[in-house]
Symmetry: C2
Subunit: 372 residues, 2 copies
């Protein structure tokens, strides 16, 4: 299994990563189609299909926007569009990507206050109540699924508490959107954002979000929003199914193909169920192997599983042996390297794909245990 870049040949590695993930053939074909320009009628028709599909995925009537950026770009957009100079933002964090959002707040000169819990644990409604009582916050941001720890926050319980405080709420749903059900309008989420190289099973280069009327109204009052990530000019162009700047047209064509597949072929509820089963199966496998799950019980993600190093294995070695066998799984993130490893099971991964990989991984782990 060559792990060198070959200009003329695509990668043959099977990705069990928490993004970028395996991209199905129908999307690869879509990427290779010639397109008209972003100011043409065919583009606008495609843009409209994309945002109407996103509204269905997110259970929302809110405006859905298309960004030429990674999800981090929309995280920066939230900070710049929604927080006035003298206001406070609460950045709830359960891992590396929560911490990064707080860093973005600080790097943009905002009053960004972080409230984090021990990695592996979720945010609880009690924790949020306690934090909200300490200060007046205009905006609260949090992750749905924290890619670094594999924890899924209990959003249905947390968000009503935040909404009660009157703050705008922004959710980074990067590694769960289109994989785990999240009802934007029911919960009143003001900005729900994601990049598409996770559960949408598209290649990276495109990020999307929904924006509530309240968020748009707020942006109108905030100074120094910049131009590139300005919600107001994005919303304005979105009304005519365009973007202010040139968008990543191949990825948008791919998105339309995937939205059609998700909504009309697989079915949205079936897709959520499949991700549930992938999560369950991985946790059963881990338990059978004697590998303790890193997240607190009841808060395990169904798109990425994080296992502790209960067997005291060299995880870096395990990952590189798996690579020689054609599978990419990933080591722990940041400070969790070698203390945990992660299996991504999102996008178009099937139970059969997962079983095939787990079989190989079981052998690799058993071999490594024998050699110790």
């Amino acid at each position: 299994m060559s792990i060198h870049f070959n200009k003329d040949e695509g990668s043959k590695i099977k990705l069990f990563t928490p993004g970028p993930v395996y991209v199905p053939e129908r999307v690869l074909e879509a990427l290779a189609k010639p397109n008209d320009t972003h100011r043409s009628k065919p583009y606008s028709e495609m843009h409209q299909m994309a945002i109407e599909g996103l509204q269905k995925i997110l259970f929302t009537k809110n405006e859905c926007l298309i960004f030429t950026s990674s999800a981090t770009g929309i995280m920066e957009a939230c900070v710049r569009n929604l927080l006035k100079k003298d206001e406070n933002g609460l950045f709830l964090s359960i891992g590396a990507f929560g911490d990064r959002w707080h860093e973005i707040g600080v790097a943009n000169g905002k009053n960004a206050i972080k409230a984090g819990v021990e990695w592996g644990k979720p945010i609880t409604p009690e924790f949020v109540k306690e934090e909200l009582s300490k200060n007046k916050y205009s905006v609260v941001v949090l992750q749905s699924n924290e890619t670094s720890t594999g924890v899924y926050n209990p959003l249905n319980d947390i968000i009503p508490v935040i909404k009660d405080s009157g703050a705008l709420v922004c959710v980074d749903a990067t590694s769960s959107m289109a994989g785990i059900k999240l009802e934007v309008d029911k919960l009143g989420i003001d900005v729900c954002l994601a990049s598409v190289q996770k559960c949408f099973a598209l290649p990276p280069g495109l990020a999307v979000c929904s924006v509530s009327d309240a968020a748009i109204e707020k942006a109108n009052q905030v100074e120094n929003r910049g131009l590139y990530f300005d919600f107001i000019s994005l919303v304005k162009k979105n009304k005519v199914y365009q973007t202010p700047n040139t968008p990543p047209i191949p990825q948008i064509r791919g998105l339309v193909v995937q939205l059609d597949y998700i909504l009309d072929d697989e079915g949205l509820e079936k897709r959520f169920e499949r991700h549930e089963q992938l999560g369950k199966r991985t946790r059963i496998w881990a338990r059978d192997m004697g590998l303790e799950i890193f997240p607190e019980k009841g808060y395990e993600s169904n798109t990425v599983s994080t296992m502790k190093n209960t067997l005291n294995i060299d995880y870096a070695k395990m990952v590189s042996i798996m690579l020689t066998k054609g599978f990419r799984i990933v080591n722990g993130y940041g400070s969790l390297v070698n203390k945990t490893f992660r299996i991504g099971h999102m996008g178009e991964i099937t139970l059969e794909n997962l079983e095939e990989m787990l079989k190989v991984l079981t052998d690799v782990i058993n071999e490594l245990r024998l050699k110790k």
Copy 2:
């Protein structure tokens, strides 16, 4: 010729637009190849090839960076990274995109001063000297090729004047990079930026730039740079051939394929010559048709030609008739609608392609004149 979006079928329109432009088959094939993740060895090898190729295109030893954004994103990056709160930036403008860069400066709360000339005219060294004498400027930004007017600024004469003042100089080379020769190190350009859907003949979704050591040093001293467009974290990750956030991997694979083609197959000087010939041929055609060229003589772009409405034709109608014949040319930009029209001849357009289109356009124009 259908001008509706078809999910299963690519556009058949032949683009003679100033971006996004016609994408050659070899790039479309590259987009459809599966990729490993952005933290893998194959990705880093690809990233390295991309930035080393860019250095050759730009005649520079400066760091070349990859952005998940349109060119507008890097224009915002220049403003945020290089201008301190109390410093002045001079925004030289010869058209709509120059004006936009100034808007970006203002939208980011900077002391952004615009100095523009009449549309159709270039910036001259005398004009710059005069402007620089009025104030102390830390940064001066300008366009190489102004896509809205089809004017190419005399950079070889202007930039030495700016450098003499000690200011950092940023050049938006969006519609000329890889089509018109610009020697970054010889001129001492601090940031030279472009998106790839113009002369590189790639689909949109990726922007690139070179950054000088002086620009990096300056960024280190500027507060409130944000995180998404932060030169410092981009440069840091670039040293290990990665990006801080997930990049548009398909477009980067396409870029490597195009850089190889440009440098090894067509040859860089031959590519510049081809664009020169495309510009000349279009101007000869226009003169023969009785269409006056919009830019001042001697400053006409070789990637996009702008013609006045000397024949008093309905340009909107002309553009839509051309579309029914399978060719997209474009109306004037902004306030120049119907007063000018534009033909893009950049990227992989050949003289033969151009002749084919001009033949059809000649007939359309003659027919419109008869009907008057």
